[in-house]
């Protein structure tokens, strides 16, 4: 099957890209001032030369730069993301531990934002020029313009502190011993606020884009054809306009879905969500190189993966791709 082969070819290319990214990231991070050994020593509240020497040796920092790079890249080729000396665990384990939480958060936010965004965009486009359209558009603009963390803090304040409806942070009720459905429900409760805050911004983006795209497509000739067939407005919007209008939204969404994975630092921080965005941020402060590199690599892989998914979705939505030059 050629499509399958093509996907394989693409994956192969992606692997090369990833490797290049790993190398570049390595340079980037090592350009940062700060030394993980010193940080670790510093945190201990006391340190002497012997200790720092020991740490540097353990981290492999006493070796020349190119040896470190070579070792790192060599490891990656074998699927080894290295070892976090700070946390005393293989990076891959650290990430694997955090990734599900991040994926849960970001995918939920993504699904919410995409579905609501498109729905609202369609609604606004259908009412273009009317008061309800202006209302929706302005609302979207507000979500777009409000700093994410501000929204997050406010959400916690209102729904968690004042109303007490939803937990304000965390991934699940700690030590609740919930299992099965109860646990899922518990996690869902914790998920609502962060997913909403993270999703609102993107919802606004998708909505505006859908609206613009719908309006543009609605001037296309084939819409007139559809009208000439005697189709009703809603049917035309659903069957003809939306499908064509959604393509640019899909492209953008694909790119952002990937980015979300590593980009939810703020939300994860405010809501104490144990995801990899925070892992990255905390590792950065400690110059825990292997961990940051690992997170970057994983999120780059996500971006690439989502791009491939986007391409496939695109092919499903638009039959011209793959045939057109």
């Amino acid at each position: 099957m050629p499509v399958f082969a093509a996907i394989l070819a693409r994956l192969a290319k992606a692997v090369l890209t990833l490797l290049a990214i790993a190398v570049l990231n390595f340079f980037l991070l090592h350009a940062a001032p700060g030394d993980p050994a010193v940080v670790l020593a510093g945190e201990a509240g006391a340190a002497d030369e012997q200790m720092i020497e020991q740490l540097r040796e353990r981290f492999g920092l006493d070796q020349p730069f190119y040896v470190q790079l070579g070792k790192y890249v060599g490891g990656i080729v074998q699927g080894d993301l290295g070892y976090s000396f700070r946390q005393g665990a293989p990076v891959i384990d650290l990430i694997a531990e955090r990734l599900p939480a991040t994926l849960l958060l970001t995918l939920t936010a993504f699904v919410i934002s995409l579905s609501c965004g498109i729905a609202l965009g369609v609604a606004a486009a259908a009412r273009v020029g009317k008061v309800s359209d202006s209302l929706l558009t302005t609302l979207a603009l507000l979500f777009y313009a409000t700093p994410l963390y501000w929204l997050a803090l406010m959400a916690v304040l209102v729904f968690s502190v004042w109303l007490g409806w939803l937990p304000g942070f965390g991934y699940e009720t700690v030590g609740s011993a919930y299992s099965g459905f109860a646990r899922a429900l518990d996690i869902l409760k914790h998920l609502i606020l962060p997913a909403l805050t993270l999703g609102l911004f993107f919802m606004a983006v998708y909505m505006r884009m859908t609206r613009a795209s719908m309006l543009e497509v609605s001037t296309a000739d084939f819409v007139k054809t559809a009208k000439a067939k005697g189709l009703s407005g809603p049917v035309i919007r659903r069957r003809h306009i939306l499908r064509n209008a959604i393509l640019p939204v899909v492209t953008l969404a694909g790119l952002q879905a990937g980015q979300l994975v590593g980009g939810a630092v703020l939300t994860e921080t405010v809501f104490a969500w144990p995801g990899i965005g925070r892992l990255m941020f905390e590792s950065l402060a400690a110059r825990d190189y292997n961990t940051i590199l690992g997170v970057f690599l994983v999120s780059a892989a996500m971006v690439i993966l989502f791009n491939i998914v986007t391409d496939i979705v695109y092919r499903i939505v638009d039959p011209r791709i793959g045939a057109r030059s």
Partner: protein, 279 residues
């Protein structure tokens, strides 16, 4: 001309312009509006707003004038927004233009390079860059520029690629014009409108990014910005709501204004839509 007419008859866009001009005015004349600088401790801390005439918006954790901070903060936030957008354009436009125009290896190379910046989540990259360069106004601006140019490059590339295929480019080639000249004189002018629209949105995004960085403690400690204000106030959000509320509103208003302008430009530059929008 007709574009300007369309633009000026768009109420939203004009509201945006008005708001932005107000913010710019306040930013420029901050030193005249306030006799003290925003770091100066002028009163007791946590003075509620509207209680003292001289300090209409109250004071912050150290007893500094919130209103003055807001005005001075406008300077930094706008500056970061504008300059980083400018820098992003300076990187993205030439790169995208060259890639789109020359195609082949140039394109391949440029796009791989762009891809690299796109695969790292841009907020994460901004954090790393600021940490590397250490947070100063310049490094923050640069970091924001560095994470925001790839979409510009892609947009410009796509536009240039489509314009390059238009026949007037062939006509220019036939007239014996050199390639760089064709690129600069014939192709690029035809890609300005989407770039302008994008730029207006980028300024908004940059202001938000700066404030997010500040929130994480990666702001320039010597520059009073709205992001700094919110970041500093978030721990007292419960007891002193105004400390994060006013700068929050300022950001919302500015970003809103820029968006309205961007949307207005978008409609104005795209007559198709504007006709629709008003009908």
């Amino acid at each position: 001309m007709s574009m300007w007419k369309r633009f000026s008859s768009n109420i939203g866009a004009m509201v945006g312009v008005l708001l932005l001009l107000t913010v710019i005015f306040i930013a420029i004349f901050a030193p005249l509006l306030f006799s003290h600088d925003p770091w100066q401790m002028v009163q007791r801390p946590f003075l509620a707003p509207f209680t003292m005439q001289a300090l209409p918006l109250g004071t912050d954790t150290l007893g500094r004038d919130v209103a003055a901070q807001l005005a001075y903060g406008a300077r930094v936030s706008l500056l970061v927004g504008l300059v980083s957008t400018l820098v992003a354009l300076l990187i993205g436009v030439p790169l995208g233009a060259l890639a789109g125009f020359y195609g082949g290896y140039v394109d391949e190379g440029a796009m791989r390079f762009t891809e690299f910046f796109q695969t790292i989540p841009n907020f994460a990259l901004a954090i790393v860059l600021v940490a590397i360069f250490e947070p100063t106004l310049a490094s923050i601006t640069l970091a924001i520029a560095i994470v925001s140019w790839p979409p510009v490059a892609r947009l410009v590339r796509a536009e240039v690629m489509s314009v390059r295929k238009r026949e007037f480019v062939d006509a220019a080639t036939l007239a014996g014009l050199s390639k760089p000249r064709i690129l600069v004189r014939q192709v690029l002018p035809n890609t300005v409108s989407p770039i302008i629209v994008m730029a207006s949105l980028m300024v908004a995004t940059a202001i938000l990014l700066e404030s997010s960085l500040s929130f994480l403690g990666l702001g320039d400690p010597n520059a009073m910005s709205w992001g700094y204000m919110i970041g500093a106030a978030r721990t007292v959000i419960r007891s002193s709501w105004w400390l994060s509320f006013f700068p929050g509103i300022a950001i919302v208003i500015t970003v809103l204004a820029l968006n309205l302008i961007g949307e207005g430009l978008n409609d104005a530059l795209n007559p198709h839509l504007s006709r629709k929008g008003k009908a």
